[in-house]
């Protein structure tokens, strides 16, 4: 009997032999059958996301390796849509019966049931596997990464370097992780795509203390797609930077609270756009009615000096992806052009519920999360000013050189901490400040970013939201914010 005329009663006896240790073409038959089963049950759309992760972290404290922790995981998530409602079921069981049980649970939650024993189960015709993992040498990425021994040696060299450079060091840490992930997406619209991702991050954390004075400075760098990343870590340069910052902040005064003009440094300064605007351009926020920009497409939402992008295409940046977690190729999405809102970031469900086109932005931490609209590499484009121009325009303000984390709430109010700050007086940096947190409202602040310099810099970061913690890039040139509330003492 042709496979397209499979009877549902024959399902339990099917003997699929998908490759056990990788996701390849052999998964087509079982997944096509399960997708057909879901559609035959009455689902409007069904998607399977399969994942295998090989993760390892390593920690050096002072002059010893104190932790090497490998972690292996496999799992799958099945998403079922009926109308605009959807259901997501995840499981560790990747056998055919395990995936079928997950599908059945998802269907039943939406009030659907598998077809009766003699019903025909039409398979879904999946496209020829789009195998992004077979390009750029990804198959050998895992084996080409640093061994446990090499991880330890590099991290110990790094903490030794930091010891030479830092004054009043109370504790020195260098930490590294490697996250290797293989994914396969198959959906009832015929999507069938595979990818391998490799994300790595390494960094310092330095605590200095001198009597009652304390400073803690950290720095992380991250990379996607480069197995030799750890070997190329410029730990000596980073040690210089971390030691210098910690030394300056050790005796810093607390910032005096108030409203100031600020200049935000490039690289991780981009967290301001990420929190104050980027999240509010995700269709998830439109669905929840938690963005002030929902009906502003084509309208001016920011200062005319501001242009911003979100993309997954940069070569090795932390948010770079060849395909998103719904199997759609990554793209470059213009968010804001000269202050005008151009596009939102949309995943499949967001597109269905809001009407905005998918942008290859469906991302998730792993198989336990349904994909949602999320940022990738997000940055403010460079402007025409020099950094000197920005400083020259400030009589009294604050230079935010190194940002901490931040968040945005349901009302569009955002906040983020400043790890390293300096007072600006008459266009010059005069003294270090600590304890600053910036708060504001998205739609106000976007009109106050009045100057962008010409030195775009990107930085690796982590973004937590509805579909878990994902790797992203933030970035910007130096920017001037005309006024913002600075919390302090």
């Amino acid at each position: 009997m042709p496979s397209t005329l499979l009877l549902s009663k024959e399902l339990p006896s099917l003997k699929y032999v998908a490759t056990g240790d990788r996701f390849d073409q052999t998964w087509e038959a079982p997944l096509a059958t399960l997708l057909g089963l879901g559609r035959a049950a009455g689902a409007d759309f069904v998607e399977f996301f399969l994942e295998r992760v090989n993760y390892i972290s390593c920690l050096a404290e002072d002059d010893a390796i104190t932790s090497i922790s490998p972690s292996l995981s496999t799992g799958a998530g099945v998403r079922v849509f009926r109308g605009k409602a959807d259901c997501y079921v995840s499981t560790n069981d990747l056998s055919f019966s395990g995936l079928k049980a997950a599908l059945e649970k998802g269907l039943s939650i939406l009030g659907l049931h598998l077809p009766g024993p003699n019903a025909f189960v039409p398979e879904i015709n999946l496209e020829l596997l789009r195998d992004y993992a077979s390009v750029r040498g990804k198959e050998s990425w895992l084996s080409d990464c640093s061994s446990m021994r090499e991880m330890g040696e590099i991290l110990l060299s790094a903490t030794t370097e930091l010891n030479h450079k830092a004054k009043h060091a109370q504790s020195r840490r260098a930490s590294y992780f490697r996250d290797w992930q293989e994914v396969l997406v198959a959906a009832s619209d015929g999507t069938f795509a595979r990818d391998i991702r490799l994300n790595q991050s390494v960094g310092y954390s330095l605590l200095c203390a001198d009597g009652a004075h304390r400073s803690s400075i950290s720095k992380r760098v991250g990379s996607t797609s480069d197995p030799a990343f750890l070997r190329g870590w410029a730990y000596s340069t980073d040690a210089d930077e971390v030691a210098d910052s910690a030394g300056k902040m050790l005796y810093a005064d607390y910032v005096e609270s108030g409203t100031y003009p600020i200049i935000m440094a490039n690289h991780f300064g981009g967290v301001i756009f990420h929190e104050a605007c980027g999240h509010l351009l995700e269709t998830t926020q439109i669905e929840r009615k938690t963005t002030p920009f929902a009906d502003k497409k084509g309208e001016k939402i920011a200062h005319e000096s501001l242009t911003a992008w979100d993309e997954g295409l940069s070569s090795n940046e932390f948010g770079t992806i060849d395909m998103d977690d719904e199997g759609m190729p990554a793209q470059r999405t213009l968010l804001i052009e000269n202050g005008i809102l151009k596009n939102f970031l949309s995943d499949r469900a967001g597109s269905m519920r809001t009407g905005h086109p998918r942008t290859g932005s469906g991302r998730r931490q792993g198989y336990t999360f349904a994909a949602a609209s999320r940022m990738r590499n997000t940055y403010i484009a460079p402007g025409d000013y020099s950094v000197e121009d920005l400083f020259a325009s400030v009589d009294k303000g604050i230079y935010c050189k190194k940002m901490g984390g931040g968040s945005v709430g349901a009302t569009g109010e955002f906040n983020f901490g400043v790890e390293e700050a300096y007072l600006i007086e008459n266009g010059k940096i005069t003294k270090p400040l600590k304890g600053a947190i910036l708060i504001g409202e998205a739609k106000d602040i976007m009109n106050k970013i009045s100057m962008c310099s010409n030195d775009l810099g990107l930085a690796a970061g982590f973004c937590g939201s509805i579909s878990g913690s994902i790797y992203v890039t933030v970035g910007q040139p130096h920017i001037k914010v005309d006024s913002i509330t600075v919390g302090g003492r």
């Binding site: 922790s69 997501y88 569009g412 901490g417 919390g487």
Partner: protein, 445 residues
């Protein structure tokens, strides 16, 4: 997931084959369902059935390696044991973790799974709660964040010296977070969270009422002038701040010099005598009670601050050995064993000389909820600068505060406590009364 006995016997057989003499395993399995709704319709239903184990192996040189895996069948365990053995050759050479001396001490075994409610009942319940909230005030335009979930968790610990620990429990939780829209005014929001063992026991009405009350109370808002204020922390706000600075009590952080305390801090007065704090995982108010930690050590009540004096630290078996103390049941298994609190219980210490009340106090700031603790807390410096939701209270009248932050030093805050109310509130994250603190820096306008 295989049973604990199966995992235990599989691990023993595989370890023998691989020549591994010493190992332990901590694992868990979770079966959960959650729903969200959007204006009366189900938005997303999630269900998950997953399991994972962490395997530790000591090699012939007593060096430790760890691997975690979600693949808990015999093949997965074998790979995990092999990988952990490989990692053990690069493990720490000093202060290597060992089995807890209390891993085999008899404890009560609790296996308390409550029946899970059908999904349609979860949806129906949440739709009704959303509807009530939308109808509570004309300004409430949506409940953008909401969720109702139920979860069964089973955990176990076994080791090669015969320790076997198991426990299982069920939890249900609901959160409702509403948002307002009013012409010419800023959107405002408020929310509430409840947790219990099952849907039937969940205080859904209380959650709805608290979310509605908070949201409505923020409709009338104003800027507050920057300055120094007497501040009243809600139980949730104080517990979240205490949690952010928990390195004060964390023996591993202290040994790593990553704490505001040192070994010599024990016995010193670090807070007002009005304050006492303990970690109390087995308190009846703690819905998510755990009877053993990641090393199999039984949990217990640990007094941390007694009448302002730092009384003891939270320990793993390793930190206890190094600091000549007893393990406290606060360890998390790993290549490097870390320590964390379970359930803080904050209470009044010495009797206060004054009785303060929000009904009579003038111009105090009542902080209900602190935001962005991940960004605004520097736990190693002891400083914080945090946005908050709260009210300016004057003789019982409260006006919501718009866009403000509170900043300070946590150790100074502990010493500036002027009143600890008698009435304790049980929250999902701990127990605390309201805490009154003087001279806090608040930035508004």
């Amino acid at each position: 997931m295989p049973s604990v006995n199966e995992i235990s016997s599989n691990a023993a057989a595989i370890a023998q084959q691989l020549g591994i003499q010493k190992y332990d395993i901590y694992g868990s399995s979770v079966d959960e369902t959650s729903v969200q709704v959007d204006f009366g319709e189900p938005k997303q239903v999630k269900a998950s059935n997953r399991s994972s184990v962490i395997v530790r192996v000591w090699n012939e040189n007593n060096s430790l390696g760890v691997t975690s895996t979600t693949d808990v069948d015999a093949k997965g365990l074998e790979l995990a044991l092999k990988t952990a053995y490989e990692a053990s050759h690069f493990g720490a050479k000093e202060n290597v973790p060992d089995f807890s001396p209390e891993a085999t001490v008899p404890i009560e075994e609790v296996n308390e799974h409550f029946p899970q409610a059908p999904v349609d009942r979860l949806i129906e319940t949440l739709v009704q709660a959303e509807k009530q909230l939308l109808e509570a005030h004309p300004a409430i335009a949506g409940v953008p964040y909401n969720g109702l979930s139920q979860r069964d968790i089973s955990k176990f610990y076994v080791n090669s010296e015969g320790a076997v620990r198991r426990e299982a429990g069920s939890y249900a939780s609901i959160y409702l977070y509403s948002k307002t829209e009013q012409e010419g005014k800023k959107p405002r929001s408020g929310g509430a969270y409840r947790m219990n063992h099952s849907l039937d026991q969940l205080d859904i009405d209380g959650c709805f009422k608290e979310a509605a009350d908070k949201t409505i109370s923020h409709l009338n808002y104003n800027k507050v002038k920057s300055g120094k204020y007497r501040v009243v922390f809600s139980p949730e706000a104080f517990l979240s701040l205490l949690g952010a600075f928990s390195n004060l009590f964390n023996a591993q952080s202290i040994l790593d010099k990553q704490s505001l305390s040192t070994p010599e801090s024990l016995g010193t007065q670090i807070a007002s005598p009005l304050l006492s704090v303990c970690d109390d995982p087995l308190h009846p108010g703690n819905i998510a009670q755990e009877r053993f930690d990641g090393e199999g050590t039984p949990t217990r009540q640990v007094p941390l601050i007694t009448k302002g004096v730092l009384t003891s630290f939270l320990h793993s078996s390793g930190t206890a050995k190094r600091m000549n103390a007893q393990p406290t049941g606060n360890a998390n298994i790993g290549a490097k064993v870390t320590v964390s609190p379970h359930f803080y219980h904050v209470s009044a210490g010495e009797p206060g000389e004054q009785h303060l009340s929000l009904e009579t106090a003038e111009n105090v700031i009542w902080i209900d909820d602190l935001h962005a603790l991940h960004a605004g807390v520097n736990a190693l410096q002891g400083s914080f600068s945090l946005p908050f939701d709260g009210w300016l209270v004057n003789k019982g009248d409260r006006v919501s505060i718009d866009s403000a932050t509170i900043a300070g030093d946590f150790l100074s805050l502990l010493k500036s406590i002027v009143y600890v109310e008698a009435e304790e509130e049980v929250t999902p994250g701990g127990i605390s009364p309201k805490i009154w603190v003087d001279d806090m820096s608040v930035t508004g306008e």
